[in-house]
């Protein structure tokens, strides 16, 4: 294990369109276990932000409590972060977003943080369609407290100690669909080729983008019989489409056979090209997407990839009609009513 990250980088390190190198998007060295799925996701976030040429300080990263919630320290050092309290990242993100609608919000949570203690906030942030990317690093167990089952652990899954999980697992992706999330995807920490374009698509989406990322816990939940182990997920992972993210700056037309590809335009003009494997499925139709997710569940397989997207999605600010100028940039001139107004108020109470 390394304890410090050397500041040295190769002088010829490539730079993105804004002139930033990948280094500008990196974070502190991770203190998670070697081989933890979460670190791969952090790496994917760094890669996605670098490739998308987002200015690092225009991103805010927020989290709750748990192994997953530690990760914002391990990516995007030039972005403000907020490691809040257990299960409450959604509310803190909501407040932050209300204050400044112009930043890009990445929320990181875990299965304990979102599916148990924070379930209420998870449900309500979806309902408000907050403009953010919400990532659950889902390993089916509580790592920091040494491996207890979480609420997303599948019924019948075996723990490291050999006990069987008796309770039904909560499928956060299905739940997000049911609750009306405007972007739902599932991926696997071990599949960067799928994960990076999905992250880019989520960040380009206006409204609530949910990413359920299976991220095995190498220490407590990587044993035989666990349905969240590396081996199990690799063997049971299915996808409906491979995804290409095409930023709007360099939109290109790719040729795919009719019926096998679908292009989805995102809010900022970027395109998602989906190379579909299943002609029945329409990712822009909630009913169709829900059917697919349930079908795969019945087969005992894990459906990954982009599952649903609402291209017409707006967000909380549009719903409650807040000013286009971020609220945190308004000054006395914008906010302070006049003395005459106050005199009218006084008069109304005489």
């Amino acid at each position: 294990m390394s304890y410090i990250k050397p500041p040295f980088r190769h002088p010829d390190l490539p730079i993105n369109e804004l002139g930033y190198s990948k280094k500008d998007y990196e974070g502190a060295i991770s203190t998670l276990c070697a081989g933890c799925g979460h670190d791969s996701i952090s790496g994917a976030i760094v890669q996605a932000c670098y490739e998308m040429s987002v200015e690092p300080h225009r991103i805010a990263k927020l989290s709750g409590i748990g192994c997953s919630s530690k990760t914002p320290a391990y990516f995007l050092n030039n972005s403000h972060g907020f490691n809040s309290v257990h299960g409450r990242m959604p509310s803190v993100s909501t407040g932050a977003n209300l204050a400044n609608r112009d930043l890009l919000y990445i929320g990181v949570s875990g299965d304990g943080d979102s599916a148990s203690i924070g379930m209420g906030q998870f449900v309500h942030v979806i309902r408000r369609n907050l403009n953010m990317t919400y990532i659950v690093m889902n390993n089916g167990c509580y790592g920091l407290t040494k491996g207890q089952d979480s609420a997303t652990a599948d019924e019948g899954s075996l723990s490291k100690g050999g006990s069987t999980n008796l309770f039904q697992g909560i499928d956060l992706a299905s739940l997000a669909m049911e609750l009306g999330a405007s972007f739902v995807a599932r991926s696997f920490s071990g599949d960067k080729d799928q994960l990076i374009p999905l992250l880019k698509a989520a960040m380009s989406h206006k409204g609530f983008a949910f990413l359920d990322i299976i991220s095995p816990c190498v220490t407590f939940n990587n044993n035989l019989g666990s349905t969240k182990s590396y081996d199990y997920v690799r063997d049971h992972m299915e996808t409906l489409a491979t995804v290409d993210f095409v930023p709007y700056q360099n939109e290109i037309t790719l040729e795919y056979k009719e019926g096998q590809s679908k292009s989805v335009k995102l809010h900022d003009g970027s395109m998602l090209n989906l190379h579909k494997l299943n002609a029945e499925w329409d990712p822009t139709n909630r009913k169709s997407a829900l059917e697919q997710i349930n079908e795969f569940k019945d087969k005992g397989e894990i459906l990954t990839g982009l599952i649903y997207i609402d291209q017409q999605s707006t967000d909380l600010h549009s719903l409650i009609k807040t000013s286009n100028q971020p609220l945190n940039s308004l000054t006395e001139k914008d906010l302070m009513p006049s003395l005459a107004d106050l005199e009218l108020i006084n008069d109304d109470h005489r």
Binding site: F82, S84, G95, L98, Q121, I345
Partner: protein, 604 residues
Amino acid sequence: MSETAIKINDFVIRFANVNGTGSASANTMFALSIFRMGVPMTAKNVFPSNIQGLPTWYEVRVSEKGYLGRRDGVDIVACLNPQSLAKDVASVLPGGYFVYDSTKNLHKEFIREDINYIGIPMMEICMREYTDPRMRQLFKNMIYVGALATLLNIDLEVLKNVISDEFKKKPKLIEPNIFAINLGVSYIKANYDYPLNIRLEKRNLVGNKIVINGNTACGIGAIYAGATVAAWYPITPSTSLVDAFDKYASKLRIDPETGLKKYAIVQAEDELSAIGMVIGANWNGARAFTSTSGPGISLMSEFLGLAYFAEISTVLFNVQRTGPSTGMPTRTQQSDILSCAYASHGDTKHVLLFPSSPKECFDMSANAFDMAERLQTPIIVMLDLDLGMNDHLSEPFEWNENRLYDRGKVLNAEELDACAQFGRYLDVDNDGISYRTIAGTHPTKGAFVTRGTSRDEYAKYTEQGDEYVKNMEKLTRKWETAKKHVPDAEFYQEKSQNKIGMLFFGTTLYPALEALDMLKEQGIFIDAMRIKSFPFTNAIDNFIAEHEYVFVVEQNRDAQFRSLLVNELEVNPKKLVKILNYDGMPVTADCILKQVLPKIKNHI
């Protein structure tokens, strides 16, 4: 008929109504007419946790001397509720009046020899005049207001103007309401001698004062202070605070060109989420607040600890009600002192402000936002139900148009470029307050992770004991700095001879001042102090030190404020004498006097 002494501008009238029958607006118009006659009055709404059907009372105290606290004893009861009849008859002071609906005869058991009865066949008049049952109900309220106005010598022109103002937006309703008033007036004129010995006379004693409740005052204060985000969860008695913010923001904070709002209000799923949103918004540079009551404080505690430890400005209004648990949700108390002062696990302390009047609510609300950003910590404004929901006679609101918001120590991009090394928790000025940055300020400087875990001066996670202690000591230094920013205590009757002091806070001000006057009449002079904030300033320490003993008057069972004084100032507990009232009704001067007098006479 009983003999009644003449009482001019000095009485208490109590309306006994059924909740949900429209009596509240009629009663308010009655009270406002007294105010507009230039006579000081205070109104208390004693209402149930119910939408319709249960008894509700509205009490108006008229006091030429300007006493604005509740008073023991009722001179006149206007009883419109058969459910509470027995209790209402019993509540009238000897020589007082009992006004009732005489459509049905009053049963013998309700007849007292020592009070006067004034029967008005209200329902009979309504049945005769109106056909619609809803109209019968609503106008019955105006009939008794008209009758009482005549009995009590309220200027009818004043009353009619109040009605016209009340229905400014629905002018069609003015005429029918005045018609109903006249039905009451005519009945009294035809059947009774008027006015009564207990009555009003016009004065010029209210100056340019206003009549308003504390919740509304806080909401307006938040608007002037530049609050842009309000997140809340409905709970009595704090709901009307965000309602007021909403009402005035929708008039004063809409961009005329786009029609878009220069504020955001989110009704959260619970109090945890409400305070989470407020902390998130403040962290990101907006002025944000929430309002709640005791149960909400319990739920918000974990987050308050985060805001304290991570040093995030937060404004929270706590409109206290009667606890513990759900308690009496529609009754007043000052019983969240300790739960707010030390909210959350670990070593935490929060700045508290204690307004006494709507004017102070307005000022403290506005100042709380400056203080929160200056100190980078939660500021809890401690109202109670009486202050928050009842109308109070108050000085008018004032504002300096040149006022600039104090955003505290925030670094912009140029300042970050100029600074050698930014450390979020470095105590550069040695006052416990560090410099902060807001997300999006600078591409490569000033970013850090805010966290509830222990960290070093550069916001890096640490479990080093010495770093942790250094940080906790910095927070202690900040607490000392806070003493310079909070409003100091106010003193009354400073020159006493007998070394007795009295201290109080919040709404206890009104009955306490009245009790002090009553003591003076008996030749007993007591020094008094009203505390307006926590942390306690040196002046508070000195006041206690200068007196042999000090009465601490508060509205809870466990003398929580006294505990806070003992704990924080290391005062000998024997010096601080508990004077308590916690039945859910605002404390009265009589209640204070009854406890204080024997103690003074027996030298405690």
